[in-house]
Amino acid sequence: MMVRFSVNGVARELDVEPGERLIDVLRERLGLTGTKEGCGIGVCGACTVLVDGRAQNACLVPAASLEGCAVTTIEGLSQGGLDPLQQAFIDHQAIQCGFCTPGLVLSAKALLDENPAPTEDEIRAAIKGNLCRCTGYEQVIAAIASVAGTGYRALDDEVEAPVQSPELRAGAGWPAEPPTATPVLDETKGTVPSVSSGGGEGR
């Protein structure tokens, strides 16, 4: 059956099967593979797209239902350069394997469009339908909070330098070449191990 809707601002008129899923239309007919399928049952959120500005799971949307709707996919978010949210995801290391990233970015986009200054709890609630196995969500929330201008603890963590060990503080460093033979603890020098090191040529 025929259905007319826009995808990323481009008007589309498509002959779809009854029950054909939006995710299949996007990925297979339109080549918009940024929308990912992670579970197929509307649980993981990897296929999140915006339909008239609202986050929806494209695996549960019949394409035939979209008459007159405006669909935004991840490809549509960066048409005039990166969206600030996308830049924030990069800046705050909010990405690992990236499979959930398009969905998370779009859920965040829908949130900020509706509520420009969400609290931490509101951010967590807005992305709880987007499963991520890699990041633990902290840096994702930091990225969203940075765009919103609301503070977040993981943003503070980013400026905290690692604790330097006593030996590093005493001036020890890291040689370029590791020991080439089993190092032994040198009792005569107290705690300093003697290592046969390559010497760090060229540094």
């Binding site: 959120g45 339909v51 986050a55 695996c59 549960l60 019949p62 239902s65 859920s107």
Partner: protein
């Protein structure tokens, strides 16, 4: 997902006509699209999309009640100022459904007609004394549901593994071609207090293992001290426990717990995780009533 046809109904008449010819009514599709995946259960059926039928999209203030169109999405209702003011219990219950993506498509009518024992909205609607207006009649919500003992054996009560592709036909008294138009929800009396609690495996997006909707009033002794208030009357509906939604009315916590326990032991021993629920549900109800009396909730945030 395979289906024989797809009709975007423009009017209620059109939707009814298609449903009378055997079409399967679909609103948000958050259940149908999951059940239809892989199993091909709708391959021979036309889908009747009622999500844009104007008659099903209205929220009307009727003074002592609010009439909610069946095709209103849960998100729309969670954001509705009238509901927030008059039916905060219902708004809170619906806010517990899934993630944002699900609430943006799922409808209140779909939630009711799917008649899942683990539904979040049904317990709230039940204690609020909701009525259902169909295209043919008006009836108490409690009378909409048929007894469905098989659901008790269904571990997790997941949409994906639901035994019934056409839940409306199997689990409700709706006849072929009969559609739910709206849910009429009475506004609770002044002075009543509510509580909603959903127990899940993790805090995230899972279905309820046990849910509780409470609504009731206190006998005013005039002392003003909250701890001395006595329960006048409390209605309780619990999800995840019974083969048909059921409201327990009691005048004390002890009575409520005793009635619940007796009913569980009489009717719910087939539950997939009966041992757990038999132990937890009555105790959780006691905790819920205690929290409700104090004007608190059972919610506990993950982060300190």
């Amino acid at each position: 997902m395979k289906a024989a046809d797809y009709l975007r109904a423009e009017s209620l008449d059109q939707a009814v006509a298609a449903a009378e010819q055997g079409g399967l009514v679909l609103a948000g599709g958050t259940d149908v699209m999951v059940k239809g995946r892989g199993r091909g259960v709708y391959a021979q059926r036309a889908l009747v999309d009622v999500s844009r039928v104007p008659e099903l999209r209205e929220v009307r203030d009727r003074g002592d009640a609010i009439e909610i169109g069946a095709a209103c999405t849960l998100s729309e209702l969670c954001d509705d100022a009238l509901l927030a003011e008059k039916l905060p219990l219902l708004a809170d219950a619906m806010a517990h459904v899934g993630g944002v993506q699900t609430r943006n498509r799922a409808t209140i009518g779909g939630n009711v007609v799917n008649a899942c024992p683990a539904s979040d909205a049904i317990p709230a609607l039940m204690v609020l004394g909701a009525r259902v207006r169909t295209t043919r009649r008006e009836l108490p919500l409690a009378d909409l549901f048929r007894d469905c003992p098989a659901c008790l054996r269904h571990e997790g009560m997941l949409v994906r593994t639901c035994f019934y592709p056409d839940a409306a036909a199997k689990k409700t008294v709706l006849e072929q071609g009969e559609l739910v138009r709206s849910i009429i929800v009475p506004v609770p009396a002044a002075g009543s207090r509510w509580l909603f609690h959903k127990l899940t495996r993790t805090q995230g997006i899972g279905l309820a293992r046990i849910s509780i909707a409470l609504l009731g009033t206190f006998r005013d002794k005039g002392t003003g001290a909250l701890s001395e208030k006595t329960i006048n009357h409390v209605d309780v509906c619990m999800g995840g426990l019974f083969s048909k939604p059921w409201v327990l009315s009691a005048a004390s916590a002890e009575e409520a717990v005793a009635v619940l326990t007796a009913k569980l032991e009489a009717e719910s021993t087939a539950l997939a995780d009966y041992d757990y629920k038999h132990r937890v549900a009555p105790a959780l109800l006691a905790d819920a009533i205690a929290a409700w009396r104090r004007g608190e909730t059972l919610e506990r945030k993950r982060r300190s």
